[in-house]
Symmetry: C2
């Protein structure tokens, strides 16, 4: 028997015990991602290179599209986790930058993963507008095999 | 009028002029990818870092999953394009390595993209077996927000 939602006990939250409607599933998924980002914790074994940087691959959390690759130092990793927006270290300008600071094309962090060597980050984001400064959705719009600019949208 | 396939003229190959069956579409897509890889050309404006390396993000060409990140130099980019298998430069062992050389978990190259700064590669591959040496499908199996090993499959 399915109880009314206001009296639903905690153990009914298990997906197998409580088959949810598509709308409920979507809401629970969003809620779970929100809760997960709230409890993010930076692992203490991350390996930074000799310049104190770690490359971060930025991926669209829904489509899986790789949007860009940029570099973070320990402080920008901390800011990224704390603010839920992506912060990087600019190697050319030698300063912090927050993606979308001026353009408004911010990236809301949904999850941060790190690889088996702990020397690369994979940041899953909700991208507002295009990720590339050229106006392309992704910075990877040119291919070795294609005419080049074709993928720019 | 749709002509019999043995007398189909070349201009019927246009997808809009010639609506194909799902099976034909799949076959044409595979053929197009094959032809594209055959005509791959390394752009001459790729930017390597002070150690002569360029990071390469390896992505599953079908699922979009990011499998690993490794480094290539000019010679391993050449070998990758020439053999259709991924070649890297090992920074720790200071030698070339071909992914799957010993394990058999090779990566067949489907496309190579490069970003707006020409300093990062995105290689779309058909991955045989797991990509990670730990046996996980992807090297990114641990998360800042998760219990850690949960994503390893």
């Amino acid at each position: 028997m399915k109880p009314a939602s206001f009296e639903r006990p905690v153990f009914y939250f298990s997906p197998s015990a409580y088959p949810a409607s598509p709308r409920q599933t979507v809401l629970w998924t969003f809620f779970a991602v929100y809760v997960k980002t709230f409890f993010m914790r930076i692992p203490d074994n991350l390996k930074y290179d000799d310049k104190g940087l770690i490359p971060a691959v930025i991926q669209d959390w829904k489509t899986g599209e790789v949007l860009m690759v940029a570099y973070m130092n320990a402080e920008s990793v901390r800011r990224t986790v704390e603010t839920g927006l992506t912060w990087f270290w600019s190697r050319s300008r030698q300063k912090f930058w927050q993606k979308g600071e001026t353009s408004g094309h911010v990236q809301r962090v949904k999850d941060v993963l790190y690889d088996c060597d702990q020397d690369t980050l994979l940041v899953k984001v909700d991208q507002t507008g295009p990720a590339c400064h050229t106006g392309a959705r992704s910075c990877f719009f040119r291919s070795f095999s294609g005419a080049g600019e074709e993928k720019k949208s």
